[in-house]
Amino acid sequence: MNERIDALLRQVQRPARYVGGEYGQVVKDKADVDVRVAFCFPDTYEIGMSNLGVKILYGVMNDMPGVWCERAFAPWGDMAQAMRREGLPLWALESGDPLSDFDVIAVSIGYEMAYTTVLDMLDMGGIPLRAADRPDLRHLVMAGGGCMCNIEPMAEFFDLCFLGEGEDMDREVLELYQKAKAEGWDKPRFLRQAAQIQGIYIPSLYDIAYNADGTVASITARDGAPDKVRKRIVEDFDGCYYPTRPVVPSTEIVHDRVSLEVFRGCIRGCRFCQAGHTNRPVRSRSAETLLRLGKETLENTGYQELNLSSLSTSDYRQLGELCDGLLDYCRPRGISLSLPSLRADNFSMDIMRRVQQVRKSGLTFAPEAGTQRLRDAINKNVTEEDLLTSCRVAFEGGWNNVKLYFMLGLPTETDEDVLGIAELAKKVFWTWKQHAANKSRGVRITVSTSEFIPKPHTPFQWEAQISRAEYLRRVGLLTDALARTRSVTYNWHDAEMSLVEAALARGDRRMGAVIERVWRAGGRLESWSEYFSLDRWLEAFPACGLDMDFYATRERPVAELQPWEHMDCAVSRAHLERERRRAYEGVMTPDCRAGCAGCGAAGLLKEGVCRG
């Protein structure tokens, strides 16, 4: 480290996150490298290094001959300020070189609130923000991640976007880039070619026209780009790349452990859930493969904890077998196993008992809604009986800490549904009273609510978000209903951030100006409450001639063309419309294994048959 940077690192919190050098980082000889990629994660090191997608794509890209992928994260406020004061550009961790030294800037975005941070990182790295201001092939800015199912609000900043899973298409795009660079192509030629790769979205090749009322009139592809960009998946998930030699941070991060991805997709089809719809179809790894990958990664990293990750781990067919195999390996070595995303059913509770024999951490359930009627409407296939039985088993087993997560503002929600949350919490309390193994320690039941946010590519994509005032009224209703229940703590998330998230999630291209304005006013790391400010957004929307409510709290007619209609995530619009009708009828749709609902995702598979 040179003295200037060293002096700065001595003034900031946790400097180890800014210097790299960790075990497992990839360093290549620049003489052997023809394409340098700066992989940017628009959040802190601690969050980004916990992200499995980052580990996967870092490995995939660095496995390519001639490609060197390095990491960059958003500095915390103290560091960002010091860097700007000192005129130091954002650097990548491995080489310490500024982003402007790189050919390709790759950004991973899983959360709308990261948008302003993306702009901040580009600017700190000396990269012009808008694609139109980067005329050369150099400094190509590409983006991938969960937000790509509607990336229109960021469309003017990106040259190229990846819709779906990156393992194969990242490689194909970089190979094309290697060729383009070697042969001296110009940027338009490269982008036109890249648009031919399945899953690749080139925003500049699409013209958007608007109606007088602000809705989208048409989306027109140009220069041979596909009318609809079809999501890419990895069909053979069992044989798919898994990072068994990830970078092991030298400073503590959020999820500091091995994360084993059991399957992708979800069989459940909860109607509010974007991930459950955009990651279909379900593809699993075999227990045998997972055991091998788990052991290998534990040995290579030295981690003492392994976590099974998926959208709903209880739905993994070989879960019992996998847990037994992992426990056989982990227990004698003092390695602990954690299983988030379990459903409240008997089978899962049995697994929990077997896995958590030592430490009794809290149990978390997400019934999402307080009454069976509303749970049916959102297709959350959990009954009150399931939940109470699970709680009974937990209390009998000595647990005394239960967290319950709910959403307020779900479509069709009435006051009765809101009060149902309090009723359910009280029933959990009575269950504890009747079945607790040891009542002397008391019980802690925590009810948390957040505001429902309608997301693209879900059956609720046309719904209005309730207003902040209405959310607060419902919070008040629930607060009063729980006021006299001492063992129940009620936490609610403020709706300020939800409003912005709702607007961004279903935004169109014109919103780029708003995001840039908020960033210029100081917006960055906005998923952190200490850095979020609603006022900046309230100022920026009208200043750019847009109305936040138009995007967030307006119910959209089904016939309206949505800004993301050229993104084909494989679940058909007809399926989403049908699911929405069924929600209003209060009719559940069975999970994929109980009966195929014909969502369309199977069409991504070669044989056209989904094996869940």
């Binding site: 180890a16 980082q25 030298s250 430490r359």
Partner: protein, 210 residues
């Protein structure tokens, strides 16, 4: 195997790893190398390792010592090379051996460093040659003022471009005098920037500590 000691260095980018993070890093390094550290019992088992004199973030060292125990017999001479294959950049195992005495025997440290943006070598030499040098130390019972002069055995300075370089021998335990505290004692004359490296450790009588 019990009562073992590892001598290691911590330089370059590794100087920013905090003490707590270093403990975790060491534990994982042993685990990657397949060397069985002894663990404590209980709900939250942790490796029984102890680093004799924690370094502050930003200070480098060529003489760090970590005491540990193994669950198995190992060729100690081969251990550093094995561990180094699994270390992050900047941490190097130098020597592993049976500890000849307690860690508390480490009493003096020789350090070298650079100081920029303050006074010249002559000023520092005179300042630290005084019989009494008062410094404010943050202790368990709040701030207190200590005389750090007895803890300074050597303080040599030479002028370099933009500042001075220093060679120090400071008392390391009971009491501990860190280079940070020593610099702070300069008050308004403290350098804007300084960076030190621990070079060698000694016992009370200035014989080498092992």
């Amino acid at each position: 195997m019990d009562k073992l000691r590892l001598k290691f260095s911590k330089t370059g980018r590794a100087v920013y790893i905090s003490h707590l993070d270093l403990m975790r890093t060491m534990q994982r390094t042993f685990s990657r190398a397949g060397v069985g550290l002894k663990y404590s019992e209980g709900f939250n088992p942790h490796a029984k390792i102890s680093i004799i004199l924690p370094l502050s973030v930003g200070t480098a060292s060529l003489c760090e010592y970590m005491d540990f125990s193994l669950t198995e017999e190992r060729d100690l001479d081969a251990l550093p090379e094995l561990l180094n294959r699994y270390m992050p950049e900047g941490i190097r195992a130098l020597e592993a051996y049976e500890a000849p005495g307690k860690g508390a025997e480490l009493r003096w440290l020789r350090l070298a460093g650079v100081m920029k943006g303050g006074r010249d070598a002559a000023f520092y030499t005179d300042f630290f040659a005084r019989d009494s040098i008062l410094a404010e130390r943050r202790g368990k019972r709040g701030l207190r003022t200590d005389d750090i002069a007895p803890a300074i055995r050597r303080a040599r300075f030479a002028d370099i471009n933009g500042g001075a370089e220093a060679e120090l021998i400071l008392h390391a335990q009971e009491p501990t005098l860190s280079p940070e505290l020593m610099m702070a004692s300069l008050g308004e004359d403290a350098p804007a920037y300084f960076r030190f490296t621990r070079l060698e450790a000694y016992k009370e009588d200035m014989t080498p500590f092992r």
